[in-house]
Structures are given as C-alpha cells and as structure tokens.
Amino acid sequence: MLATRAVLGPALRKVALSPRLASAATGILNEQRLNRPSSPHFTIYQPQLTWLGSIANRATGGGLSVLLYGFSLAYLVAPGTFDSAHVVEFVSGLPDAAKYAGKVILAAPFAFHSLNGLRHLSWDMGKFLTVKGAYGTGYAVLGATALSTVALVMM
C-alpha cells in the first residue's frame, strides 16, 4: 500500500496540482458521453390509459391546430383559392364515403380533445386526483367521445 503510494506519489501530486489534466479528463469524458447509448425508456413503458390519453390529447389538439393554422395561412396567402365558396364546392364534389370519413376524422379528435380537456380542468380544480379517479374519468371520456363522434357525424 505504502509502496504503491511511494511509486504513484509523483503522479498523484501531478493530478492533484495540475488543472490542465483535470480539463483533459473532462474532455475525454464528454467525448465518451457522445458515444454512449441511452437505455430504452419511451419504447418500453407499458401502455396505460393515463399516458396514452395524455399524448392523444396533445396529438388531437396539435392536429386540429395544424388544420386551423394551415387553413388560415392558406386563406391569407391565397384568398381567391381558399374562400368559403371554393372550399364548400370542393367538399360537396367528393363521394359520400369520403364525406363520412372526413367527418369522422374531424369529429373524433375534436370530441376527444374537448372531453379530455374537461377532464384536465377537473384535475386543475383538485378533483379525481387518484388512480381510480384518473382511470374512471379516462374511460368515461373514451365512451363519451365515441357517442359524441356518432352524434356529430349524424348532424
């Protein structure tokens, strides 16, 4: 032990007293970090109503907003092509199956995002903040979304 200390003595002193060696070590460390993989996290998390519902809320909101932004910017840039007359004309020219599909594609995210939004607002008021509450309200939102989508498409 003492022999090792005596042999390594000069090296130990150099490490302790030389700041250049310290930064070289961190440089090597950072370079190694760039080569390290990260463990699976997002890909292995068990699918659950909680986080699936949460990401679905974000995805539906994002999708509907992309539609809103896209249409508004398109109308701003080319009001002649995207005015209501042309849009209505284009939609009425589509086959019935496409119209139904389009209605479902628009109604389902809108219904889910609105109902899940109400779920979020109830959490913000301090209600249903348990596992049972989250799951109960989650299933209620899914059921209500299905019913609302049917109702909206029938309108």
Binding site: L73, V91, G126
Partner: protein, 167 residues
C-alpha cells in the same frame, strides 16, 4: 394556488412531467465542465465545475402562475364559446365568431408552445429551439390576420364549418 400544488405533486402528468424531471436529474448528474454545450444523449454538458448547481429559469409570475391561470381560464372559456357557436350562426353574431377565432388561435398557440418547451427546449437545442419558437410566433400572427380577414371578408369560421359539414 393549492390546486396547482396538488397537481404538480400527485398527478403523474405522464409525458410532460416524466421528460421534464428526468432531464433535470440527468442535468444534475452531468456536472462536469465543458467548453461547449454539445448535446449528448441524456442532456447537454453544462458549464461550471462539479460544485456548481444547474441553472434554473428565474422565478417569474408572468411565466409561472399567471401563465398557468390564463391558460386554464382560456380553455374553460372555450367551452361556452364553442357551445354558443354551435347553436347560433356565425353571420348573426360576428362578435362571437371573432371572439371564438381569437380564443381558438390563442389556445392553439399556447398548446404549440408547450410542445416546443417539452421537445425543443433551448437548453437542449440552443439553435433549433429559438428558431422554431419564433417561427411559431410569426405563424400565430399570420393566423390571426388570416382569421380576421376570413371573418371580415368571408363568411366566418363557424359558418364555414356549418356549410362544410352539410355540403
């Protein structure tokens, strides 16, 4: 705001909370000095020595509790606005249509901004993050102008949706 405290401490906010907290833990662990803020898997390598804490954004009510309260009030306000838009016609109540348009755009902007803060934070993406943030702000301004033009020179959002739905 006890409800916000309850929310932050007990509800597993799934995606957002997990990514935010784990990024913070990794930032505290990656404490060694670096000449650059290269992105490494798990987070950027911070400036400073092993004894320096990670930096946090400065406490600010307008970016904190006021932002939160505004976001929730806006979302809650969208419920009666949308219900009213459903039962009336856009051309009869243009003020309602305008309010709905503005509220929807603001709600969408806050939603997009939350996605950027979660996935493209400027701490991790020092160049791309700010670029996309400012692109979003420009786009929102454009959308507001577009919505105004559409509501003024054309039939308005609620009327358009009604017509398209029954086309």
């Amino acid at each position: 705001m006890s409800s916000s405290l309850i929310l932050r401490s007990t509800v597993p906010r799934s995606f957002r909370a997990v990514s935010g907290r784990s990024a913070l833990l990794k930032a505290v662990q990656a404490r060694h000095a670096s000449t650059s803020t290269t992105y490494v898997p798990g987070g950027p390598v911070y400036k400073g020595t092993v004894n320096d804490p990670t930096d946090f954004p400065p406490p600010s009510k307008s970016h904190g509790s006021y932002h939160w309260a505004f976001e929730r009030l806006l979302s809650a306000g969208l419920v009666p606005l949308t219900a009213a838009a459903f039962v009336t016609s856009g051309s009869q109540y243009p003020v309602l249509d305008g309010l709905l348009g503005i509220s929807l755009v603001m709600h969408s902007h806050i939603g997009f901004d939350s996605m950027l803060v979660d996935y493209l934070h400027k701490r991790k993406f020092p160049i791309l993050g700010p670029i996309v943030t400012w692109t979003l702000r420009t786009a929102t301004v454009g959308v507001l102008v577009g919505v105004y033009q559409f509501n003024t020179n054309d039939i308005g959002l609620t009327e358009l949706i009604t017509k398209v739905w029954h086309a």
